[in-house]
Symmetry: C2
């Protein structure tokens, strides 16, 4: 049974306003909830079917709240998802500030006003795959704790640090000429494969429609672009797909240097 | 004004059953509708705000139906999207069968039971970017004409041919030892960057959760994997992101051969 207050809280977490106010967020579904519990995320509400709770006692021994047992019908009434899941949980948002010394020695991402929470979640996930642990988002970027973003991160949200800061504050840490360098993707940038890439740096990805804003141009050290195949008439690629191809190429080069 | 019958038809196209029965699909929003009209897609219903219709007469001169003028409120009542758009249209699905001689001479993709229509749409779009014009989907794969997939393709849907066929029928066209080769992504595959890649071939991508099914294993000539960065604990990458990194690497190698 979930109390009326808990139900109300869960529903309120659809809205960024309440996620910010309470510093909480909602995760639904086995995969994401189990990953976050394993990661040591602090659960404030945990509601699951009898079967799920019975089978996951090993994950529940450390949590501070009593799990709520929910029937299928109850699960449906609180779930935000079209197919209600076996488990949902409300977690406390992690709290950290940027460790600039580390950031300057590694590869990170900066996102300017990425609108789609699914794109953002996918980027957080692929960042971890490629060993990128700091993502800087402009305040106009989608919220990483939006339920859709949380779903797409699949738990990377607790291992990759997502910071919300004005882009100027971030990029002033990367004075030219570098390294560390500031890379940005542009339709008229130099071909990714012909550009020197240094694994100390930050990759700026622009908004889905508008790309990187002109105001940031003076801060970009190296403009890059992913070449399309001759004959393809497209002028743009999904932002998460672009981020993946660029991050993969940074790591491929680094690997080549290390392995000779 | 949209007649009751048209409204009913539009709503029915949320379901694959009706998209198949009528061989029609729905597209909503300026970008996708304009791209499809430019591509010469046959519109059976076109409904837009007065402003949109006034400003796009050049796109409407060739269409066979009379556009329906809709107010904001009417648009909202037929739209499937959370934010109703300025224009929506019902298009006839394109009709084609695989040109096997061309397929055997080029690079194509095969998708085994990809579930998420957004992933499918993103893959169709990135395929075009990387010059891949045939995608073979198992019948268990999401429908490319699902509104979410249509939205993510951004018009590539009329330039990339999406075929629904059992995987065995497709892969028997690629007898070992090749070329053309059958490539498949596996967690234990050979590192993508150390594997010989031939631009004549087909890349098999597996289901989001289960990967490529064991039954297909004997048909795969080369098992590849995208290396994660040392220290990353992840065991999987989003399927559209994986497809992007693999396709980009095929084209990077081909480019290198061509440019010396």
């Amino acid at each position: 049974m979930l109390s009326k207050n808990k139900q109300k809280l869960i529903r309120s977490l659809q809205q960024k306003k309440y996620r910010d106010r309470y510093s909480l967020f909602l995760a639904e579904g086995r995969k994401i909830v189990e990953e976050l519990l394993q990661e040591g995320a602090e659960a404030c509400i945990l509601a699951g079917t009898e079967k799920w709770i019975r089978e996951h006692s090993h994950l529940l021994s450390d949590i501070k709240v009593t799990p709520d047992l929910l029937g299928e019908k109850e699960m449906k009434s609180v779930s935000l998802m079209s197919t209600p899941q076996e488990v949902l949980a409300v977690f406390r948002k992690p709290d950290y500030s940027p460790a600039w010394e580390t950031v300057e020695q590694s590869l990170s991402l900066a996102l300017e006003n990425i609108q789609d929470p699914g794109n953002l979640g996918t980027i957080i996930r692929l960042a971890e795959w490629f060993g990128i642990y700091d993502i800087f988002c402009t305040p106009g970027t989608a919220d990483a704790y939006n339920p859709k973003a949380v779903q797409a991160t699949m738990g990377s949200l607790f291992r990759v640090r997502v910071h919300y800061l004005p882009m100027e504050e971030v990029l002033e840490r990367f004075p030219p000429p570098g390294p560390p360098h500031v890379y940005g993707t542009f339709p008229d940038g130099d071909c990714l494969y012909d550009t020197p890439l240094n694994y100390r740096g930050i990759i700026v990805m622009g908004n889905e429609g508008a790309g990187i804003s002109p105001a940031l141009l003076p801060r970009i050290h190296r403009k890059i672009s992913i070449p399309s195949h001759p004959g393809s008439g497209l002028d743009s690629l999904n932002v998460a797909v672009s981020a993946a191809v660029v991050c993969a190429e940074f790591r491929r080069r680094q690997r080549k240097v290390n392995h000779g």
